[in-house]
Amino acid sequence: MSRRLLLLALGASLGVAGASAGAARARLGGTLAIGLSGLPVPAPGALADAPEAASARALVALPLCRLEAGAVPVLAAARRRTGSGAGEVVISPLAGARFPDGTALAAHDIARGWRALAAAGGGAYLGLLAPVASLEPLLEAAAARSEAELLLPLAYPWPDLEASLCHPALTPVRGSGAAAMGIGLYAQEAGGQLGRWPGVPSGLPFPAAVSFVPALPRAAARLLRTGELRAVLGEPGQSEPPGPLLFATYLAHRPGRVPEGALAVLAALDLGELVRTFVPGPATPMPGLLPPSLLEPPPRPAPGRPGPPVAGAGAFTLGFDAALPEHRAVAERLQVKLHDAGYRVRLQASDRPGLVRARTDGSLDAALVSVLLPPLPAPALAVVLALADPQLLSRELPALGAIEDPGARATRVRDRAVELQRTLPLVPLYARGLRARLGPSLVDARRDAFGLLVLDDAWLTD
């Protein structure tokens, strides 16, 4: 069963239905109509790491586990074996986990999904698996074989690997593109609707169907009140607690391609003002390399008056993710700020894979990139390092993983994050959380430790 001690006891406070008619046991039936404000309809095959997209995608493609007080198995269980060296983690698909074509989840599905991650623009999340010895050849071999379990031998001790496997980017998917399948609470039925799928080991969800509906911001409140929508994703809630803010946005630049003066302007930016004006909540300025919940913000120079404009000091191209509405607003704001300081910035919108490609092939000098960080400091740093410079992973992680005590490890991670911030080609900007608004008739929705909306056990009071 999926209910365990929750790290964040937010379930009860999210969408509690008060004393409305219903019953003490979950009511069966109804359609879970979810409004999508500025979001595409979730597809199993697409990388979905923004909190709203990841929350919606879980309805059609569940992650391997849910991170709550610990890793709660959803599709697979991970167990640690002390073998030779640093030990190994064995991932075993749970009995009953089946894709919509009826075939059982296998180890090779997991390996193939992870191999496709880089092409989908989620290469930074391979940082979560960096402690696995010879990851590339191992996944290649596992993807080709049909074995019951996926064995991950560790190159060095890494106590947080099991928790990292619950990251939504590591969701198992079979196939690619439009034909991609995940194992979701709901699957496409003959008539095109999304009906309950019995191939989930924790059992059938309570609502009979789910539907995704484009939602206009002004209509959302009314539709939630009338029960036409049960939740709206992509719009900040008013009463719900914000939950963890772990979707972190950086300006990543290619060393030597952005003028030093421009970087100095960015480093002195008033992040508080940027977040208040251009990033819809829940969001917080991120002066350090990791979000404030993971890293006490280090001292940062107070925003001073911009220096005198330097005519023709330099121009560079800044890419951003067209799928994230706040990216455009922030990019334009940075463009204005840099223009005032005498730097000309060309903006270039693209989709996620295109953005990563352009960063890699050098056609972009800088880019706004957002990643969903795990709520644990060491894996979070691994993702940030993979984003900045994957070569740093093997240099930094072994010493961190060797610290057994979680508290001491977190302290060391924080120290390293502060030291590395000076050298990494990343300017941290802000971190944000899930934008969701829940209707009064949706009960037992909760948040996991990533801050995602978990609707696995949710039900409708009418």
Binding site: M1, L5, A12, R25, G96, D444, D456
Partner: protein
């Protein structure tokens, strides 16, 4: 009293045998007969705050009115005159019982015959009504019955008896060893446990050996009962259940259980689960007859005295209490946990039930009259009450209540509620 021009009559009846209640019923029946009431006669009795006394007097009076050929029927509705007319009764007897040193029954009897030619006009029959009043000295039975429904309150023990990081599925009480020691058995998502009066763990058997249900129920759900010193456990997350025996401090499997069993009367009351859902339908055994296709989300069987019966909790938030004597009562506003209990130890069985609120952070344990569901007492319980079981108290004939409560953090606990002092 109502109705100008009605003749008043006061009869003082001295109670000897057959008891004060019988004498009062006798006196009232005589007055009704004298007033010329015509059958069928509708009867409405109220005794505010004294449900047991009300029930007992109604029973006595119904017997005497039947003997007098008045074909009485009992009404328990707020507007008895209207109900009597709608049901085609020709006369109505309305009575109120008061106990203040003596027991007084007072009220009136009137004709409820509807003149067809009056159309929609609200008219009363031309035949005269009469006031009815009688008084007897209260005897021991009357005082006991009056006390039975009076001043009942519920009290929750401040500390839970046990806690789990997972959900409880079912709670049962009874004896599992030859010395008859009362024990509590709890089915959780992971195991069957037997605990003592202080909540101490005596034996545990993991569910791991049982095959998983495909699909399992997402809602933690199961049945657990004790029949002939054996524990019958069935989790909706598993494809089969087990019959367990407490032997040498361990729960030893004796038999596989193909279906959930709610309890035992003359035979096992077996149920069928809806695949993947926390709902069942009665399948075989001495189940009461329930109309339609009942989808139940809970139930409990009371095998012993007083008041054996079967309680079925339906997913619409109502319950059916089928007494061993054959009566079937509908109770509204009942959640997923309820049980019949003799809370006061006075031989009167009442229903203790969780509330039907959707997902309360603080639930209410309610004590209901078994006929009609009038609330007699309640107490707040943090969390959601999903299971309720009656438990013989260490203090005497009173019974306590064991509650399986789901906490908001995903875990659960076993709590004890008892009659308040």
């Amino acid at each position: 009293m109502s109705g100008a021009g009605l003749a008043a009559l006061l009869v003082l009846a001295q109670a000897t045998s057959p008891g004060a209640l019988g004498a009062l019923a006798e006196a009232v029946a005589a007055q009704v007969h004298t007033a010329g009431a015509e059958p069928p006669l509708a009867l409405a009795v109220s005794a505010p705050g004294r449900p047991a006394l009300e029930r007992a007097f109604a029973t006595e009076l119904l017997g005497r009115l039947t003997a007098a050929g008045l074909a009485p029927r009992l009404l328990a509705v707020p507007d008895p005159e209207r109900a009597a007319r709608e049901q085609g009764a020709r006369s109505l007897l309305r009575l109120r019982l008061d106990l203040a040193g003596t027991l007084v029954a007072s009220g009136d009897v009137l004709s409820t015959w509807v003149n067809f030619w009056a159309g929609r006009a609200q008219t009363r029959s031309a035949s005269p009504g009469a006031a009815v009043a009688a008084e007897v000295s209260a005897d021991a039975t009357v005082r006991l019955l009056a006390r039975a429904g009076e001043g009942l309150s519920l009290e929750l023990d401040p500390e839970p008896l046990a806690r789990w990081p997972v959900r409880t599925l079912a709670v049962a009480t009874g004896s599992l060893d030859p010395d008859g020691q009362p024990l509590v058995a709890v089915l959780t998502e992971e195991a069957v446990e037997v605990r003592g009066r202080d909540g101490r763990l005596l034996a545990r058997r993991s569910l791991d050996a049982l095959p998983r249900a495909d699909p399992p129920s997402r809602d933690p759900f199961g049945t657990l009962c004790i029949c002939q010193r054996r524990l019958l456990a069935f989790s909706a997350g598993r494809a089969a259940g087990e019959v367990l025996e407490l032997s040498g401090g361990a729960l030893v499997p004796r038999e596989a259980l193909a279906r959930p069993v709610l309890g035992c009367l003359s035979a096992r009351l077996e149920a069928s689960l809806f695949p993947g859902l926390a709902r069942f339908v009665p399948s075989s055994g001495p189940w009461p007859s329930l109309p339609g296709e009942p989808r139940a989300w809970g139930g409990s069987v009371r095998a012993g005295a007083p008041g054996p019966g079967v309680l079925v909790l339906l997913e619409d938030g109502t319950a059916r209490w089928a007494e061993g004597t054959g009566g079937l009562h509908a109770l509204p506003g009942v959640g997923a946990g309820a049980a019949a209990v003799d809370l006061a130890g006075d031989g009167a069985v009442r229903i203790a039930a969780s509330s039907s609120a959707a997902a309360p952070a603080v639930d209410r344990l309610r004590l209901l009259a078994p006929d009609g569901g009038a609330e007699l007492a309640s107490v707040e319980v943090p969390g959601r009450i999903l299971q309720v079981a009656a438990w013989s108290s260490a203090r005497g004939p009173e019974e306590d209540l064991l509650l399986g409560v789901w906490r908001t953090d995903g875990g659960s606990e076993l709590r004890l509620a008892r009659r308040g002092r």
